[in-house]
Amino acid sequence: MPDPNWQPRIVAFFCNWCTYTAADLAGVSRLKYAPNVRVIRLMCSGRLDPQFVLEALAHGADGVLIGGCHLGDCHYVEGNYKTMRRFTLFKRLLHDLGIEEQRVRVEWISASEGEQVKSVINDMVEKVGSLGPLNLPKRFAEWDREITALERELHKAEQQAEAKEAEVAHA
């Protein structure tokens, strides 16, 4: 049952030097954008452990936005290249988990691109909004239930098999 008041929840990880500063600039320039994004500051997008993304999704985020410096502009020389490489692998994992690709997005936004922060956030809120809730915690609960049920059935089947064996042995 879709909730009419549902709004996408997006967690963002922005690097201190470019994207976080750009978001500050968007503020100083009084640009207006959707309030659905919560920014967590990292020193470099290279610090982004893929676990952070999974953790965010597992705790109810509908999307994750990762912001770093433009390639070649990293404050730490090449951290964003590492992010890019990890992200390429990570996308496959997401796919295997059945999570739509558009829910996790990497953007290179420099310190002067406040306008870009606004358009990326608005665009992402719109795209994730049209995908609907991810609701991974609920899915996890469902999967847990399914697995428990399966285990129970398996257990039952084993018991029956054992009983049968016992019967055969008895006979």
Binding site: T21, K32, P35, K82
Partner: protein, 666 residues
């Protein structure tokens, strides 16, 4: 984990700042404070008008003492602005400054949202995240790294010269690196300066020779920075010294070699006179050049290009032996603590606006070309003449060429109004020509500038308001024959006019240098969207950059006049000196470290570190991080398969708790 302050219990103080109405106008601050007050571990939760003010900081300190707080969270502006302020306040209250966390509810919330309920909800969840995170904070110590006292100044225009002299006068060693064969930059090309009409050379030349003779300045002209490594206080810079084929120590600037060159006549465009006259392959950039040393153009010199010249210059130099064709490009490595970038601007290429006919009509010139014509040391010895040698009877100035124009550059170049009025007065002095200035708005904001504008009006210079549509030589009336016609809508008179003149001067605007992006990368700076180097804060840190120890001065940061460039150069010099005299840099303790028990010795982290801070201890079979080299990016932390690398201030627990926090929707 280590969630306590030794005695077990976490006692958090939370403060949300109204910032006047900047935050409180959109976010319901008392509601956020009430919400936070109920969170576990929170002992005090307040809202206050200005947290960064003295009473605001005092409030934190009092609460730390009165309520035995051991964690503090402040929700206010960006941590990039006030994190240090509040850390200091926390330290003054007797707590380790790193038991502090900041929440950005201004730049990331109240300033970018309009809906009060949504903005308040966002503030609550951001605050919740910080409250969860701050539990895991640990007491950390900043490390002190000594600062190398030498300074590198890049660019030898007026800003670079002034910065170098200021730092050198304070007794510090300075390396001044300039790409061209002489220092002086754009200012050296000017005849007089507005609004005082004092001669540019008279005020610049003494400063240029001061650079040359200063015992603390090492001047490297015809050189470029090619590599920068290290960090504030400890930069290693590689400078490429291009061969000028003349030994700077031996050349006395007698210029006998120029006369002796196999090229009997000057044949190649003279860069200093913007191509208005010619020079030989061996030349001195301009009479007051510093260093007073000739230079050989490798593109033009027959000996350099083919090795088959009679080398008459060598004979002329005789026993001085200053000319040396065996010179090779040289790479020199220097160590400096601070870098001042003063790489300046380039002029807008007037050909980009074809309707003004630059390059098509010979008597359409740029402002810098007129500047060279009007200078007594220029190609015409100060005579303002048309290309055929006649004196102009009428001159038109077109302003905002490549400025304030959506098709080219949007910004105002700030100096062209005054520069044009100065040239207009000089034209009136040197000729009896009528002068008309075509302008959009006259911008004369500097000291003495409005008075200069008044004077220009009184002296009979005509001002026509309107953006010139085109320049044409198509005469429609007898008085237009043989002249250039300016077609313009006179927006004050309200009709389209055709004004015939003999000479047209295009007041070309300023642009970032063509290689500004490369320079930016080299020094790890940022550029604004227009391409000017980005200052750390437009008001409070106008000469700092986001890279500590790298400062900017002059027009590389944006268009400005000479007084402003010098003021910035002085400011940049002062910033550098403040760091040097302090003697050390306090480094953020956000470095990574290895938990040895957990390290499996897989070596995955070692190639990841761009600063080679990670080494492998063969004896222990564990990786080791050198904290002095670590810059705290955290790339290795994210990559460690056993989770044995941790980053201070950005530990996994801290970030995980922050993630959970931002996803608690109240």
């Amino acid at each position: 984990m280590n969630a306590s302050n030794g005695n077990g219990e976490v006692r958090i103080g939370f403060y949300i700042c109204h910032c006047g109405t900047n935050i409180a106008g959109v976010v319901d601050c008392p509601a956020v404070a009430q919400y936070v007050a109920k969170l576990p571990g929170v002992v005090v939760s307040r809202d206050y008008k200005y947290m960064c003010s003295d009473p605001g900081q005092e409030l934190i300190q009092q609460d730390i003492r009165a309520h035995q707080l051991n964690r503090v969270v402040v929700a206010s502006c960006s941590p990039l602005l006030h994190e240090h302020t509040f850390r200091n306040a926390v330290a003054a209250g007797g707590l380790n400054p790193f038991y502090f966390q900041m929440v950005n509810v201004r730049e990331h919330d109240s300033w970018v949202h309009t809906d009060r309920a949504e903005a308040t909800a966002k503030a609550k969840s951001l605050a919740h995240a910080a409250i969860r995170r701050v539990r895991f904070h640990r007491a950390l110590e900043t490390t002190r790294v000594p600062i190398h006292p030498d300074v590198l100044v890049v660019g030898g225009g007026i800003a670079g010269i002034h910065a170098a002299i200021t730092v050198a006068n304070a007794g510090k060693k300075v390396f001044l690196v300039e790409r061209e064969p002489s220092i002086g930059g754009h200012m050296a090309k000017f005849d007089k300066t507005f609004p005082t009409l004092d001669c540019a050379a008279c005020i610049l030349t003494p400063k240029m020779s001061a650079v040359r003779s200063h015992e603390n300045i090492t001047l490297w002209t015809y050189s470029e920075v090619v590599k920068v490594e290290g960090y504030v206080g400890n930069y290693t810079v590689t400078v490429k010294r291009k061969p000028r084929y003349v030994n700077e120590e031996l050349c006395v600037g007698c210029q006998e070699c120029l006369k002796a060159c196999v090229f009997k006549e000057p044949k190649f465009p003279d860069e200093f006179n913007v191509g208005l006259n010619k020079r030989k392959p061996i030349y001195i950039p301009f009479p007051q050049a510093v260093p007073q040393v000739v230079v050989i153009d490798p593109e033009r010199c027959i000996q350099v290009k083919t090795g088959k010249c009679k080398q008459t210059c060598l004979e002329a130099c005789a026993d001085r032996h200053a000319i040396d064709f065996s010179q090779k490009e040289e790479l020199v490595e220097i160590k400096v603590g601070n870098i001042i970038i003063a790489t300046g601007f380039k002029l807008f290429d007037a050909k980009r606006i074809p309707q003004y006919g630059y390059g098509l009509y010979p008597n359409v010139v740029t402002s810098i070309e007129l500047e060279r014509l009007v200078t007594s040391s220029g190609p015409t010895a100060g005579e303002i003449v048309l290309r055929d040698g006649r004196k102009p009877k009428s001159v038109g100035f077109i302003l905002c060429v490549g400025s304030r124009d959506m098709k080219t550059n949007r910004w105002c170049s700030r100096t062209c109004c005054m520069h044009s009025m100065k040239l207009a007065q000089l034209v009136r002095e040197h000729t009896d020509a009528d002068v008309t200035v075509f302008y959009l708005d006259i911008r004369a904001p500097g000291k003495g500038c409005e008075e200069f504008y008044d004077r220009s009006l009184k002296e009979g210079i005509q001002f026509v308001r309107g953006r010139v549509a085109e320049v044409t030589d198509w005469a429609l009336a007898p008085e237009e024959e043989g002249k250039l016609v300016i077609r313009v809508e006179d927006t004050l008179a309200g009709f389209v006019r055709r004004i015939p003149v003999d000479m047209i001067v295009l007041a070309v605007g300023m642009e970032p240098q063509a290689d500004a992006q490369d320079v930016r990368r080299l020094f790890n700076m940022s550029c604004g969207s227009e391409g000017w180097f980005l200052e750390k804060h437009p008001k409070l840190a106008p000469v700092s950059t986001f890279t500590d120890g790298v400062f900017i001065a002059g027009c590389c940061q944006g268009p400005k006049d000479i007084p402003d460039s010098i003021a910035q150069a002085g400011a940049a010099a002062a910033e550098a000196m403040a760091l040097i005299d302090k003697g050390y840099i306090e480094q953020e303790p956000n470095t990574a470290y290895i938990v040895e028990e957990d390290c499996s010795g897989c070596k995955s982290c070692i190639p990841l570190c761009p600063f080679t801070a990670i080494t492998f201890d063969e004896a222990k079979q564990k990786a080791h991080i050198n904290a002095a080299l670590c810059k705290g990016c955290g790339t290795c932390v994210a990559a460690c398969p056993s989770g044995s690398i941790k980053q201070n201030l950005f530990e996994d627990e801290e970030i995980f708790s922050e993630i959970e926090g931002v996803l608690t929707y109240a």
